[in-house]
Amino acid sequence: MIQKAATRNVPANELAAAWQSPALPGGLPAAAAELAQAPGISDAELVRRTLTGQQDPFAALVARYQKRAFWIALHVVGRVEDARDVAQESFVRLFRSLGTYDFSRSFYTWFYRIVMNLAIDCLRKVRSARASSLEDLAGSLADQREPSGSAPMELQEQHGQVWAVLDKLDAKFRAVLVLRDIHGLSCREIAPILRVTHATARWRLHRGRQVFREQWERLTGRAEL
């Protein structure tokens, strides 16, 4: 187990401090930054080194995957704060379960599965807790997703409508659409992430696109073709 390997003969307070120093201004240790950018060091190698008790390799994994984790979480849950929490929790879960990593499989598939599971859980919690109307939701999403640049108002409104439609979709369709149409993963990659068969992933993509189009046309007032 990772905990046993990583904590051998190291006092707890020293260990906690070791994770945060010496650090670059960005908060990432210099050795970790080098590891993160080294093209010859695979994710599996970083996992292997982390399992021997080193901290820098895990910080390098964080540097490699934190943005991807955040964006996937954001596109599934739809809120920046929730996405940040999901990304952070994903890395904590990853750290806890590093000892169970199967080195014969792809690391990012495994990690994306953790992120997607947490994001879908978060989405379901948010949906069950939310009492506001769809109009309020569309407005809040549009506000949150206001681009930093000066995008035209029409475009901003369209983006708000897209997220309103996505929010009406079932979580399983939303997950496939986000991974395929926004993040560009293939159905063969999506299937193990969602723990479904390839055929199921393809069917969900098919159905998700159909439902999204129907809801999109309904919301934007376009005539049914």
Binding site: Q3, K4, A6, T7, V10, A12, N13, L15, A16, W19, Q20, G26, G27, L28, A59, V62, A63, Q66, K67, F70, L74, H75, V80, R84, A87, Q88, F91, V92, F95, R96, Q144, R145, E146, P147, S148, A151, L155, Q158, H159, Q161, V162, L166, L177, V178, R180, D181, I182, C187, R202, L205, H206, R207, R209, Q210, F212, R213, W216, E217, R222, L225
Partner: protein, 208 residues
């Protein structure tokens, strides 16, 4: 255009617009769309909604920038460090607590064993007799009736005391039989009968 072709192509359109069809079927669908206006409209609608989704996915919300990611990275590393330190503290401090749990479980087991052991005399459930001579004859009197034991009926069943069966009748639905442990036939063992209290006689009406 045949209806069956339209139906087949329309069914494949959600995959077609995303480039998820095999090359051969994609070519066939493209050929059909070139000639079929209704299917082309369907494909255009799907393509449009997909494009809107793709564009919305590229939007960067306000507040999401490099400083945010830097802060997020630091908080992730700190959270993992806390997790690691907590796990180690748990390991270090957990051992004595685990031993205490094991000892408590063992003590409870031994106490339970001692309670159910019928051979041992239990001061908790023993029935102290009311000792002392009553009328100068009795030795002792059971506190709460006779001590009995239930045993299943069977061919090989014999009274444990070796004496005659003192069964007081069939037990639960005839499957069990009551057997006294104390020998009630023992002449020295006398159950005292308390004398009835004398009640004052009520005056009759004739006395008035």
């Amino acid at each position: 255009m045949s209806r069956s072709t339209c139906r087949r192509v329309r069914d494949e359109l959600p995959w077609f617009v995303g480039g998820d069809l095999p090359a051969e079927r994609e070519r066939a669908a493209a050929d059909h769309l070139r000639d079929c206006c209704a299917c082309r409209r369907q494909a255009a609608a799907l393509q449009q909604s997909r494009k809107a989704l793709d564009e919305a996915g590229r939007v960067v919300p306000g507040g999401v920038d490099e400083p945010m990611f830097t802060a997020m990275q630091a908080s992730i590393v700190a959270a993992v460090g806390r997790e690691e330190a907590g796990a180690m503290r748990g390991e270090a401090g957990g051992a004595p607590w685990r031993w205490a749990q094991v000892l408590a479980a063992a003590a409870m087991f031994l106490f339970g064993w001692w309670l159910v052991d019928t051979e041992a005399v239990s001061p908790v459930f023993g029935r102290p007799p009311i000792a002392g001579p009553i009328g100068g004859v009795a030795k002792a009197v059971p506190y709460a009736g006779h001590r009995v034991e239930l045993q299943p009926l069977g061919d090989e069943w014999k009274p444990a005391t070796g004496g005659a069966e003192n069964g007081v009748g069939p037990g639960m639905m005839g499957r069990l039989r009551l057997r006294t442990l104390e020998d009630l036939e023992d002449p020295d063992f006398v159950v005292p009968v308390a004398p009835l209290p004398t009640l004052p006689t009520a005056p009759s009406r004739r006395d008035h």
